[in-house]
C-alpha cells in the first residue's frame, strides 16, 4: 500500500492543477496507474461506511460431470447445410442419398463391431494399459470362460457371460454333486434361461451394437415380417424346457422365481401357460410383483378372443394388483393402453379412464401412453373425433422435454406426424415439430428410417398446404441434413411449384433430384419434363429449361443401360420441345435423331413446331432434312410439312424437287 500511496502523492503534487481541473474526468478514466490505487482507497472507505450485512454463502453445488459439456452443446444449433455429424470425419464419404447414408452408417458400425470383436477375442494382444487413470472400456472384455471346475462361482461366471447352455449344465452338475446353490444364483439362472428362452443368445454384443444403426432399418425394410418370424423361430417357449425343469426341481419357490418364469413365458409367446403358472403361484399363497402383472396384462389380448373378455381379464388383474397392494408403474399403464388397442370399440372410453387413473395415481404418462391413446382414438374414428383428442394431447404436451421410459416412446412422433398428414392439419404438424425440437426430444426419432418417415410426411404436408416459398425454405432446412427426400417428396415439390405457378424454379428442383440420386426414377423425371414443356415461358426461363433438359438428356444417356430409365416418346419430345423453344436448333436436331435410334416416332405437333423454328431461324437445309426425316418415319404429316416448307422457305431447285417428291409420296401414302 505504501508504494502506490507515495506514488499517488507524488503524482498529485506534480499534477495538482491538472487534477483539480479534471478530477472528475480522471476519476472515471482508468488510464493512469494511480487511478486504480485511488479507487482502491475509495473502495476501502466505502467498505467502512457501509453497514455490515450478513453474507449468505451459497450452498456448494455439485455439478454432474457432463454439465459443462451439456451447456456448451446446447449452444450449438443445427447447421442446415452440414451433413450428419457422424460423417464429418471423412468428407469423401459424405452420403448424398438415402441408400448411401444407410450403407455408410452400416459400414461404420460394422467396422466398430469388428474391431471390438477382434479386441475381445484376442485379449492377449491387448495387454498394455497406457491410460492413467485406467479406462475400462478400452480394454478387452472377458468373453470366454475362465473357471473350469464345478462350483457356484463357475455358475455365476457363466450367468454373467450369458452362456445359457453352459450355465444349465453347470447347475445340473452342481445338483448331482449334491451342492446346494444359493437362492440368489438360482434367481439369476432362471432369469437368464427365461430371458433367452433356454437358448444361447445369438452373438449378443455384435447384434446389439449393430442394431443401433442398421438392424432397425433392415427390419423396416423387410416390413418386420421376417424379423418377427425369426424371433418366433428362435424363441418359442417349449413345454418343460430347462427353465420349467429347474423351476420344478426347486425345493421352495418365491415370487422372483415365478416372476422370471411368467415373464419368460409371456416374452416368448406361451401366454396361456403364463396364466396357469400365475394361478399356481396364487395357490402357493404368494403375492405377485409388478413385473408379473405387467407381463400378464400384455398377454391378456392373446388369450381371449372377444373384446370385452380381454378387458375383463385386464380389469381382473388390476383388481388383484390392488388387493395384493402392488403399486402399478408407468409400464403397467402403458401395457394396459397397448392391450386396449386390441380391444376394439371398448378401447376408446377405457383408454381415457386409464389416463385419468394414471393422473390420480400421480404417474406421469410417457410418450408411449399418448401414442397408444392417439392410435386408439384414430382407429376407425371420424376425423373430428381424432382431431379433438389429438388437439388435447398436443396442448398437454406442448413444450415438454421427455426422457425415454418405454420402448414404444419412439413411435410417438412418427405416428403423430402421420395423423397430422391424415388430417391435413398443418398447424398441428408445426406443433408436433416444435415439440420434437424441445430439449432432447429429437432422440425419439430412432434411426434414419424413422427420420425419413417423419420428415417425409411433414414435407408432403407442407407441399400440400403451404406456399411454395415456405416449402422451399423448409426444403433447404431439412434436406439433406436431416433426411433424404424420396421421389414422392420431390414429386410433391413439383406439384407445389405447379400449383403456385413457380415453374421457373424447376431447374433447381432438377438439381436436387440429381443430387439425391433420384435421377433414375423414370416417372419423376418425366413429370419434371412434362411440367417444363407444358407452357411457354419467358426467354430466360426457356434458356434455363433447355440447359436442364440437356442435363436430363445426358443423365438418361448415361444410365440408359439400366432398365428403370430409358427414352420414351414423351420425354424425347419434351426435351426436343424445350430445346426448340430455347432456339437450340442443333441440339434439337440431335434429339430428333435419337427418336430414330430408339425406335420411337415423333408427334406431328413437334415436327411442325420444329419447322416453325427452322423458319424463324431461316435454316432451309434443316427444314428439308426435317421433312426427309419425317418421311423416313412414314408419318402422315410428311406431305403437310413438305407443303409448308415449299410455301414458306426460300428453296433451291434441288431442294424443291426433293420436297415435291416427298409431298407426293406422303399423299400417296395417305
Amino acid at each position: 500500500m505504501a508504494a502506490p500511496c507515495r506514488q499517488v502523492g507524488h503524482q498529485i503534487q506534480r499534477k495538482s492543477r491538472f487534477l483539480l481541473n479534471n478530477f472528475e474526468q480522471l476519476w472515471s478514466h482508468r488510464t493512469f496507474g494511480w487511478t486504480s490505487a485511488l479507487q482502491q482507497q475509495a473502495a476501502n472507505t466505502c467498505k467502512v461506511a457501509e453497514p455490515t450485512e450478513t453474507i449468505v454463502i451459497p450452498k456448494k453445488k455439485t455439478w454432474s460431470k457432463v454439465a459443462v459439456l451439456e451447456a456448451l452443446a446446447a449452444t450449438v444449433s443445427r447447421d442446415p447445410t452440414a451433413h450428419p455429424y457422424q460423417f464429418q470425419d471423412d468428407p469423401y464419404l459424405t452420403p448424398r442419398t438415402a441408400s448411401e447414408f444407410r450403407l455408410y452408417s452400416l459400414s461404420q458400425e460394422s467396422g466398430r463391431s469388428a474391431a471390438k470383436y477382434f479386441v475381445n477375442s484376442n485379449p492377449k494382444f491387448f495387454t498394455k494399459d497406457f491410460a492413467e487413470p485406467h479406462i475400462p472400456c478400452l480394454m478387452p472384455e472377458t468373453v470366454s470362460l475362465c473357471l473350469e471346475e464345478t462350483s457356484e462361482e463357475a455358475l455365476k461366471e457363466r450367468i454373467k457371460l450369458r452362456k445359457v447352455k453352459a450355465a444349465v449344465d453347470m447347475y445340473d452338475q452342481l445338483l448331482q454333486a449334491g451342492t446346494s446353490v444359493t437362492m440368489e444364483t438360482t434367481h439369476d439362472l432362471l432369469d437368464l434361461i427365461c430371458l433367452y428362452c433356454d437358448q444361447d443368445p445369438v452373438d449378443d454384443q455384435e447384434t446389439q451394437t449393430e442394431d443401433i444403426e442398421g438392424a432397425a432399418e433392415e427390419v423396416t425394410k423387410i416390413k418386420g415380417r421376417v424379423r418377427r418370424a425369426t424371433d418366433l423361430l428362435r424363441s418359442t417357449w417349449k413345454e418343460n424346457n430347462n427353465a420349467e425343469r429347474i423351476f420344478n426341481l426347486l425345493p421352495e419357490r418365491d415370487t422372483r422365481c415365478y416372476s422370471a418364469l411368467i415373464r419368460g413365458m409371456v416374452k416368448h409367446g406361451a401366454f396361456a401357460r403364463a396364466f396357469s403358472v400365475y394361478t399356481d403361484m396364487l395357490n402357493d399363497r404368494l403375492t405377485a410383483d409388478v413385473h408379473i402383472f405387467n407381463a400378464l396384462i400384455s398377454a391378456a389380448p392373446e388369450i381371449k378372443d372377444k373384446y370385452h373378455e380381454r378387458w375383463d381379464v385386464i380389469t381382473d388383474l388390476l383388481k388383484q394388483m390392488s388387493q395384493q397392494k402392488v403399486p402399478p408403474n408407468l409400464l403397467t399403464f402403458n401395457r394396459i393402453l397397448k392391450a386396449l388397442r386390441r380391444c376394439g370399440s371398448l378401447a376408446r372410453a377405457h383408454s381415457l379412464y386409464t389416463l385419468s387413473e394414471m393422473k390420480a395415481l400421480g404417474i406421469a404418462p410417457s410418450l408411449a401412453s399418448y401414442y397408444h391413446v392417439m392410435s386408439i382414438a384414430c382407429h376407425g374414428a371420424s376425423s373430428q373425433a381424432t382431431n379433438d383428442i389429438f388437439q388435447v394431447i398436443m396442448t398437454t404436451l406442448e413444450g415438454t422435454s421427455f426422457t425415454c421410459q418405454d420402448p414404444d416412446d419412439s413411435l410417438f412422433f412418427v405416428s403423430a406426424m402421420r395423423i397430422c398428414f391424415d388430417l391435413k392439419d398443418l398447424q398441428m404438424a408445426f406443433k408436433v415439430h416444435s415439440l420434437l425440437e424441445v430439449g432432447e426430444n429429437w432422440r425419439f426419432l430412432r434411426d434414419s428410417y424413422q427420420h425419413n418417415l417423419y420428415y417425409g410426411r411433414f414435407f408432403n404436408l407442407l407441399c400440400l398446404m403451404e406456399h411454395i416459398d415456405t416449402v422451399l425454405e423448409w426444403h433447404r432446412r431439412l434436406s439433406p441434413s436431416l433426411y433424404y427426400p424420396n421421389s414422392q417428396n420431390l414429386s410433391s415439390i413439383l406439384q407445389a411449384l405447379d400449383t403456385d405457378c413457380r415453374l421457373d424454379l424447376l431447374p433447381a428442383v432438377w438439381k436436387d433430384i440429381y443430387t439425391l440420386g433420384h435421377d433414375n426414377k423414370a416417372d419423376l423425371v418425366e413429370e419434371l419434363l412434362a411440367l417444363m414443356a407444358r407452357d411457354t415461358h419467358s426467354p430466360e426461363v426457356q434458356e434455363s429449361f433447355a440447359e436442364c433438359a440437356l442435363d436430363v438428356k445426358n443423365v438418361i444417356d448415361r444410365v440408359g443401360r439400366r432398365p428403370s430409365l430409358e427414352w420414351n416418346p414423351a420425354s424425347l419430345s419434351h426435351i426436343t420441345t424445350l430445346l426448340l423453344r430455347a432456339g437450340k436448333i442443333q441440339q434439337a436436331w440431335e434429339m430428333l435423331q435419337l427418336f430414330k435410334s430408339n425406335n420411337r416416332v415423333p408427334a406431328q405437333g413437334l415436327l411442325e413446331e420444329f419447322l416453325s423454328v427452322c423458319h424463324s431461324k431461316g435454316s432451309t437445309q434443316m427444314a428439308v432434312e426435317l421433312v426427309q426425316t419425317s418421311a423416313t418415319f412414314c408419318l402422315s404429316a410428311t406431305s403437310t410439312l413438305a407443303k409448308r416448307t415449299l410455301a414458306e422457305f426460300d428453296l433451291t431447285e434441288e431442294q424443291r424437287a426433293t420436297l415435291s417428291d416427298l409431298e407426293s409420296a406422303g399423299e400417296s401414302f395417305e
Binding site: L69, L72, C137, L352, T354, E357, Q384, D425, R446, M465
Partner: protein, 451 residues
Amino acid sequence: MFRLLLRTAHAARKSSFSVYESCLATSKCDKNAAQHFRVANGGGARALSTTSARHCEKKDEPALSQDEEKINEAKDADPTEKSTLVIHKTENNKLTEQSEQPEGLKTDEGGAMQTGVGVEEVVAATKQVETETKAEKNGKESLIDLLGAMKVDVTTKKKRNLKPKRIISGSAPRPNPADMESTISMFQKATMEAASQSETLDPNLVAAASAAASTLPNRNQAQSELLRQLRENEATTQAQKKGDINHLGMLIADMKVGKHYRRQNSRPSNQIRFDEDGKGYTEERRERGVSAELDGVRRRDLFSGRRLNIFSTASDEGTVETAVAQPTLWDIDFANQLSLSTNQLPRNGLEEVIQWTKEGKIWQYPINNEAGLEEEAQVMFHEHIFLDQHLEEGFPRQGPVRHFMELVVAGLSRNPYLTVQQKKEHISWFRDYFHQKQEILKEADVYISEA
C-alpha cells in the same frame, strides 16, 4: 337493457364485466375478441358490436347516426335507445375518466361536453342522455326518477333533432329487426314468477327495475323479465369470478338476443381441409355417433374424466419398493431396449465428447489433475514427506547407518512417483537388510537395536 345500464358503470373499470355484458347484449359479439367490447358494450345495436373500440370512436358519427336511424325505425324501442346512450357514456368515460367519480355528476357532464366525443351533432342529443346515464352510477335511488323521465326526453329529442340527419353507413351492418324484437321481447315476455324471485335481489334494484318497466307498455312482463336478467347477471358474475366461461354460452342461449353462434369446432374455420385420400371427412352424421364418448374430452383436460377406480390413490404404503441392490437381467435387457429405441448418435462434437465422458474415455469436467487418484487422495501429504517417524525403530539413533537412512528418507520424501505404502516398504527393506547384516555391522562397531 336496464341491467346493462347499471352494469356499465362497472364496466368502464372492469373489462371482464363489460365483456360479459356485451355478450349478453349481442350474441354476435362472442365471435370477436373480448377487448373489442369495451366501448361497444352497450351496443344493443349490432352495428357497433362487430367493430372494434377504436373503430367506434373514430367512426362514431356514422355509427351513432345509424343508431339514431334505428331509433327512428323503432320508435318505441326504448331499450335500444338506452343502449345507444350507453355507448355515449362509455366513450365519454373513456375520454374523461369520469367513471371513477360517479358523484361528480355535474363536472362529468361538463367534461363530457368539452371533450366531447367528436361528434358535434350528437352532443346536443346526448347531453340529456348523458345526465341520465351518469346518474345510473350515482345510485339506484335516482335511477328510478331518471328512468321515468328518460323515455320521454330521449325519444322526443332524438326524433326531433336527428331525423334530418339520416346517414346510413354502408359499412355497418343494418340493424336487424329481429334483434330489436328480441330485445324488446325481453321486456315484454310475461314471466309471472318474477315477483317470487325478486327476494334474492337487492330491493333497490327491484324498485329500479319496476320503475324502468313502468316506462314500457306491458309493465308486468317487463319487470319480471328485467329481474330475471338481473338474477342471471348475478349468477354469471359469480360464475365468471370463478373463471367459468362455459356458463356464458348457456346464458347467451337463454337471452335470445339475436342469433347465437356456438362454435363446435376449435379449428380455425379458414383452414382448408382436403379430402383427397378419402380418410376421414366423409360425413358429419357418423361423427355424431362415434365421437359421442369423446365429447367429454373436448375443450377439457385429458385427465379430468372418469377413472378406472381400481387403485386407491393413497397407496403410499406401497412405495416400499424392494430396493434391489443390483439390477436383474431383465432390468438390463429393458435398459438396453430403451437405449435402442432412441437415437444415441451425437449431433455435434460436444455431444460426442459427452458420450465419451460417459464411457469414461476422456477427462471429466471440471478438469482435475487428480482424477483417477481417488485412493491416493485419502493419504495426507505429511505422510509422504515426514518419513522420519519410520526410522524410530529398527535403526540406530546415530552413526553411519542412521546417516544413510536419513538420506534415503530425504530422497523418498521428494519422490512424487511412489505411494506411501511403497515408501514404507522401501524403508522396511533397509531395516531388514541391516538386521540381516547385523554381524558385519557389529564387527564395525555399529549397533542397530540399542541406542
